[in-house]
């Protein structure tokens, strides 16, 4: 283990200090309190548990009795969603535009991120900054112009319209994240490949992309996520054919009031895609949110 190498002057230390170091390395770091973490995690999980709890109850139980866990466990709410096209098409629509958006964002961002990480060219810094401002742009500012733009070119209420609209913040996000990963790849690799006679496209696909595969994964995950969680633009740009699940959820109020059980079940189902991959990206969450800069 090279990281147990002695600090300068460590040889002259009192005996007990050096001993602790060899015994366990992490004892130098102040240990956190498990109580704090348990409390914090409880704070995070209880509202989610409550949603899950609601989704497994019947509406009679929700409205007439207050129970901490479902007494009559039922999957009817999920069955309603998975059999009614008005509900499940929402998931399909969301998935379609989210996947489209992720593919578009990544395919344009990859070469651009490479250019930003390897070359300096006229206006590169301004361009990079301008991309950032688009990541930061409030969707509320763009809602109305998007509505008019996509109506006038006849793309209103299509999946591609939402996918393109989400490029507003996802393309800059992907460029920044990928650039963050690419700067970690030594430039010598590129130069060696060129000397070995690789053309740029061949080098890029055969050598470079495998090298930053994890970066691409993280960028894809974040494009997927940010497109999946967005409501305002997707709701503004769709009415029927491409209506996403999030918009359907905000309009559940029927004549007989809100169907809480079904609403909760729909909510639980939207958490599933994130929860499925969360384990694989756990070490990159901070990096992704900080635009590849941690």
């Amino acid at each position: 283990m090279t990281d147990t190498a002695q600090a300068p002057g460590a040889a002259g230390l009192p005996r007990d200090v050096t001993e602790t170091r060899t015994a366990t390395k992490k004892r130098f770091r102040p240990n956190g309190s498990a109580v704090v973490m348990v409390l914090y995690l409880l704070f995070l999980l209880v509202p989610i548990y409550w949603l899950l709890n609601m989704s497994l109850k019947t509406n009679t139980e929700i409205l007439n009795s207050f129970t901490l866990w479902p007494r009559n466990l039922t999957l009817d709410n999920y069955r309603t969603i998975l059999t009614d096209p008005a509900w499940y098409m929402g998931y399909v629509n969301s998935l379609i535009y989210v996947v489209m958006n992720t593919v578009i964002s990544l395919s344009v961002a990859l070469p651009a991120a490479y250019a930003f990480s390897r070359y300096s060219f006229m206006g590169d810094k301004h361009l990079f900054f301008w991309l950032l401002t688009n990541r930061m742009a409030p969707p509320a500012v763009f809602a109305l112009p998007f509505f008019q733009l996509y109506s006038s070119v006849g793309l209103f209420d299509t999946h591609i319209a939402v996918a393109l609209a989400h490029c507003l913040f996802n393309v800059p996000l992907a460029v920044w994240i990928l650039e963050g990963f690419m700067r970690g790849v030594p430039k010598e690799i590129d130069e060696t490949a060129y000397i070995d006679g690789y053309s740029f496209p061949k080098f890029f696909v055969k050598i470079f992309i495998p090298l930053i595969a994890s970066g691409i994964g993280v960028a894809a995950f974040f494009c997927f996520m940010f497109s999946w969680v967005e409501l305002l633009l997707s709701r503004t740009l769709t009415t029927v054919d491409a209506k996403p699940i999030s918009a359907i959820m905000t309009r559940t109020q029927g004549a007989s009031g809100i169907d809480w059980g079904v609403l909760a079940a729909a909510g639980v189902l939207t958490i599933v895609p994130g929860a499925l991959v969360i384990y694989f990206v756990r070490n990159y969450i901070a990096k992704g949110f900080a635009l590849g800069r941690v």
Partner: protein
């Protein structure tokens, strides 16, 4: 890393440029266009100059929304940043439990924003929600649809719930990058826990904390979905933040001119903060390159 000067790199950036121009520049130009014109319907537009801008600057409604927005952002930053640092300091440093904490803490970050709203809408209801039910059983009057204070508390607690983990995860990443030797030295000097935090951990975290603060400020500054789902901007206008107000004006009332002027001023603020963010980021990159 020193970069080669190569103007041909523009070709690699071109797709991004075209796409973002289509999805950002054209719409933004539409906004500029509306902000200086007036219409009486039938697609007839008249030059209005800076009239809308001066009208918006005098509009009490916009200043109220801005004031609410700033208050909201200030409160959530004041809670989330210290809490996030505190949580990060208490996280397990490695091993199985570190992974468990990372996964569970990331969970709220990945929940669709309207579902975050739904979760708290259900959770806070007096009749069916755990929080609302418990509070009312304790004799505290709590109703986020009627009471302004309760609405604010709900929206703030919801944001703390949603985003504190982000601050914590960033701070945690900063903490993990501190070499062991620093702690070793502190131990030898018998530094107190506070001094370790003040002179070792905090300085090493400043970079990531700046990112965290700016990200949280930006995102809270354009918050829309969560309060929209929970309170709908109410009671009255009590939780109508800038984005909610803007959408009401633009898509609800179709007041194109004022909404466009409003949008542009909103965007200018964002531009300013983005610039600060960019400066921080590039300074961080430089520091990484030299260290």
């Amino acid at each position: 890393m020193d970069k080669t000067v190569n103007q041909k790199a523009w070709f690699l950036v071109l797709p991004v440029l075209v796409l973002v121009a289509f999805s950002a520049v054209i719409p933004l130009m539409t906004v500029v266009n509306y902000s200086v014109q007036d219409t009486f319907g039938n697609n007839q537009f008249f030059w209005a100059g800076l009239e809308w801008f001066s009208e918006m600057l005098e509009s009490q409604r916009m200043w109220d929304a801005l004031w609410r927005q700033l208050t909201f952002s200030a409160i959530i930053l004041a809670i989330e940043v210290p809490l996030g640092i505190f949580v990060a300091l208490n996280m397990p440093k490695k091993g199985f439990w570190a992974s468990v904490c990372l996964v569970l803490m990331s969970l709220p970050l990945l929940i669709p924003w309207n579902v975050v709203g739904t979760i708290w809408q259900i959770f806070g209801r007096v009749d069916i929600g755990l929080l609302g039910y418990t509070l009312s059983k304790l004799g505290i009057s709590y109703n986020y649809t009627q009471d302004i204070f309760a609405a604010w508390v709900t929206v703030i607690v919801m944001d703390v719930w949603h985003w504190t983990s982000l601050v914590a995860l960033l701070a945690y990443a900063g903490l993990q990058s501190i070499p062991d030797a620093y702690y070793q030295a502190a131990k030898i000097d018998q530094a107190s826990r506070w001094k370790v935090f003040r002179y070792i951990e905090l300085p090493k975290m400043t970079g990531v904390l700046m990112i965290a603060i700016l990200l949280r400020f930006m995102d809270s500054f354009m918050i829309y979905t969560e309060p929209f789902v929970v309170t709908g901007g109410g009671p009255g206008n009590a939780t109508t933040f800038l984005s909610i107000d803007l959408v009401k004006m633009a898509l609800g009332q179709f007041d194109l001119g004022p909404a466009a002027a409003f949008s542009l001023m909103y965007f200018l603020v964002i531009l300013l903060i983005s610039w600060v963010f960019y400066t921080v980021m590039t300074n961080l990159d430089k520091r990484d390159a030299t260290s």
